[in-house]
Symmetry: D2
């Protein structure tokens, strides 16, 4: 297969490197309007054929796959053009800026039997795959809450607020791990520097008395990447900044014997052992590339496909509407 | 002065110990309906005179001060009776369960020239006093956001949710540190075990584009006590679980040159040195006792008085209303 | 039983408190030459009968047990007088300053059927008891090395160096956990401030290719309390400053297929899961008091008896000799 | 200049990458006997000219510099041949396996006016350069002790023990930072797996009552990289695993008023503020390359030259002799 990567800024070179090292990919092409980016790629990966003309990608090189790593606002027109020219597409997160755009892209792909891969890259990390395994095995019992903090200093995006940038990761992870329906969303936050919010708190109400919260922040002096998952049986902590103990499972919990009015004697705290499973260190992006290629060869949906991308976009849209309306509650259908 | 402590459960013995060790206090009395608590106090502090009759406190012992460390719902009737019998009062946080109750107590105290001390104990810790000093000196510049996490496993309260229990601490700290007016509040969360919320996220909008968020949780497998304060000049992290480096000030920040449409070239991240000031280790409660006694002797308001207690209760009331209405925005006057 | 505590400085009050709260102890007496310490004890524990005359302890009060919490150099004369007056003795660590003294005390006690309890207090902590259980069960396989770091700022002792103060703890723990014979000892270090060493590194060679090292330091800017134990099957980390995860067991190791000259292909690293067992939080001193009382009642040796105290003193003596001779190797018989 | 890198295993590719990105280097050549390593380099750096014939390096390519990244035992013959063929040499640490070899290489280089660069790479890190600056400014006062821990699981070397591998780093850092003369050395440790020690404790006595200790260990379940430096004025902690706060300076210390016999009243502990300077993140290796090229152009010794390499080898030799003789004290001239 031949793959073309459009957008060679921050993330694009990682796509180039991973496509280059996959045996199924015969040739990698690169496209960017910025000549200095083309020079950079040429110096690091001389075997990549480069162009600053997007039209070459659509018609010139007989590409099988176009990977889109450009700013969010351009995902839709580039993806649409690629699909209409018969290319499978790989799109960076978030899939699109509007859910209608995502739906239209899905429809075109379905009609032409092309595959859409949305690069929810955390889904392919060893840690998230291990947590999925733990949850699916029922180790935690029923999930009661999910709490995520993703804060650090920088990198501001020009075109979107912190929700579209950072929360896109967390919502894709949540959607992968927690198989419950989202009912309502509310988001709060602040834009301290210019018109895009740099801090956001997103609250998600699920059916079945389950609740999630995300704190995303571009302006924190320290970096935190931590998820708490509370289950009826056990509780889990995922700290992505830990080197070797990213996941900890606590055999801890609360038992309440619900005789009215006498709670204090009947609340039992259980603090038990802790267990930290080994996490596979394979680079997530290389597994994403394998999954996409296999999906194309097997003519099936990849694990992170257009429908997953659409679900994430819907939640991002709702959160963005809510934060601009001081936490107005938004229903999700 | 003679002081009586009513309520000898979890916190009352700490009051007894600190009143005993203050030179201005001649005699300490204790009262509880639970005989086993009286026995416990007798074995540890044999010099305390004990009773299970609240009336003795009002009339029998000629007390100057009554300290109230009973469940929240009983604060108002006990405090009212004490004031009406001419006693200065010390009340555990939160001051009362309703703002009208707090207002009535303030009025009685004013009329009779009695002092109310509300035990917002964190205000007297070395760490919070140091942060106050840093903020007042203008080291951080203008405060843009305040973010607090206070989570652990247990202790459930019978009569109130996690907002009235844990967030009372954070709101008193916030009110002490940030001298800006609160405009609106919204709270989200969940009650996983019985009818009181065990997780709450409280969002506070201040005038002047400042925002605060509190995460309080009784059902976290791990304990976290961390505050981030973002200023226009510097940023501060307060981690109360650190042994010796509770406060860290980061000479870090973001500068934005606001020429329209060219954000990326103009966003500057500054990551500089960090500084951690030494924090005084004196027990907060002993300083609170000194402050209250001095306020009585000097016939002035103590640092944490009825008005401070009232402000905290108003915010707790608003947050409690909001969380029971899925984050409905509440105006604060 | 009636118990008298001599030496009411830093540690003595903890002994008083724990003897007071044990049901088998009818009355507690205290003795110190320093009147301000007697006043301190009187204000906190009014039920304790106090004296500044050591003779009263030997003859006056009909004591069953004398607990000695005075400086190391006085342990021997006080303990000898107590035993010769028919008292069971509790002695703080280190047992004595010379091994001959320890041997003499053991002999007197044996002749008169009195019990000696040496307060190797860490043996009674939940963490050390749990590690013992893990080692005895064979979870780690054969122990290959034991490495301990115990450093912080202060408290200098007047009469001894950092070996006699801090390493006494570590050697008692090591002796309890590792049932192998010590062959040789060498110690290095420095006295930066006065004639007692403030830093020491103690190296212990065991039979069976096992090695231990202790780093003790009174002059470290940060506090570290960490033990690594390397076994042929698994490895253990004990961090006493961790709040809830003091013990971590790593399913990690090295396998070497010993074909000469081709090591690189045959060294296998195994990095597996980690497991952290819950640790009992009961105060060690209260368990020590129970053990001593039971040993007296059952007429048996307590878990930490004179022989254990002697073994620790022998190693401390050897280390002290070695450090004063720039690491001269000392044989242990 | 034209540079040839011999040895393309673990570290060699980093040399290739850094030489490639330096503007003064016109062409990079690579040499390894292992064809799979040549293929690896070809796929990643197609512009590098490759050979499996060492003779080509000496005669064929007209090289200015030969960089040697092969196993320690081969450093001497390769370096000697390179110098005798008129090449400047870059040698990985440790410089040689015997001090006589190092001396001979220095002599050849001197005679032919060629430069020797020994890759003590930590000297070029932002952290070590910052510590040097702090020490040279006298912020810590006089250095009393230096304590370093460098432990983790793997990588075993085939040909040398843990001293030659890991301690080589620490000794080069120590020699750079502490400008005092080493007097004596003793090392202890154990070989648990085969005939090379996997754990070593190296004790170094300096003139002027200063002491250093290194703990290096290939078989620790956890990774630790921490240095404590105790000065008469302040103390420093360097934790290389910290992401952003690698260096912490504690305004803490001990003051002793030396009136004989009354130590306790006169020992003063001072625990003050802590300060963490920002550390430059530039890749050390790129700065090393620049330094070497400048030294050649300016006809001067580079910062880490043959004499520095020799000093480190002498200490390694002494430590290796000592560890094989159970800590026998070795004098250093």
């Amino acid at each position: 297969m031949k793959v073309g990567v459009v957008g060679l800024g921050y993330w694009g070179p990682n796509l180039v490197r991973n496509f280059l090292s996959n045996k199924e990919i015969k040739k990698v092409y690169g496209c960017d309007q910025n000549l200095s980016r083309l020079q950079f790629i040429n110096s690091r990966f001389p075997e990549v054929q480069l162009t600053d003309k997007w039209e070459e990608f659509l018609n010139g090189y007989d590409l099988d796959i176009i990977a889109i790593a450009t700013p969010v606002a351009t995902h839709y027109p580039l993806a649409k053009a690629a699909l209409e020219n018969g290319k499978h597409i790989w799109v960076e997160k978030p899939f699109t800026f509007k859910s209608e755009e995502a739906e239209e892209l899905i429809n075109i792909a379905e009609r032409r039997n092309l595959k859409i891969f949305v690069d929810h890259t955390f889904i392919y990390t060893g840690a998230v795959r291990k947590i999925k395994e733990i949850l699916d095995r029922g180790d935690l019992g029923d999930v009661m809450y999910y709490d995520s903090v993703r804060v650090n200093l920088g990198l501001f995006q020009n075109d979107v607020n912190v929700i579209w940038d950072l929360a896109a990761h967390d919502i894709s992870i949540l959607d992968y791990l927690i198989k419950k329906n989202v009912i309502e969303i509310a988001a709060h936050g602040i834009a301290n520097y210019y018109n895009h919010e740099n801090i956001a708190h997103i609250n998600i109400y699920f059916e079945g008395n389950c609740f999630a919260h995300f704190h995303v922040n571009w302006t924190s002096p320290i970096k935190i990447r931590r998820v708490l998952i509370g289950g009826t049986k056990k509780m889990l902590v995922f700290d992505d900044l830990e080197y070797s103990e990213k996941i900890k499972i606590y055999d801890s919990g609360i038992t309440i014997n619900s005789k009215e009015g006498v709670y204090d004697a009947l609340v039992q705290y259980r603090i038990g052992d802790m267990y930290s499973p080994r996490v596979d260190q394979t680079e997530a992006l290389s597994l994403g590339v394998i999954e996409f290629i296999n999906a194309i060869k097997e003519n099936r949906q990849p694990l992170t496909n257009g429908y997953d991308g659409l679900k994430v976009v819907k939640i991002l849209e709702a959160a963005d509407f809510s934060i601009k309306n001081k936490g107005k509650l938004v229903q999700i259908k």
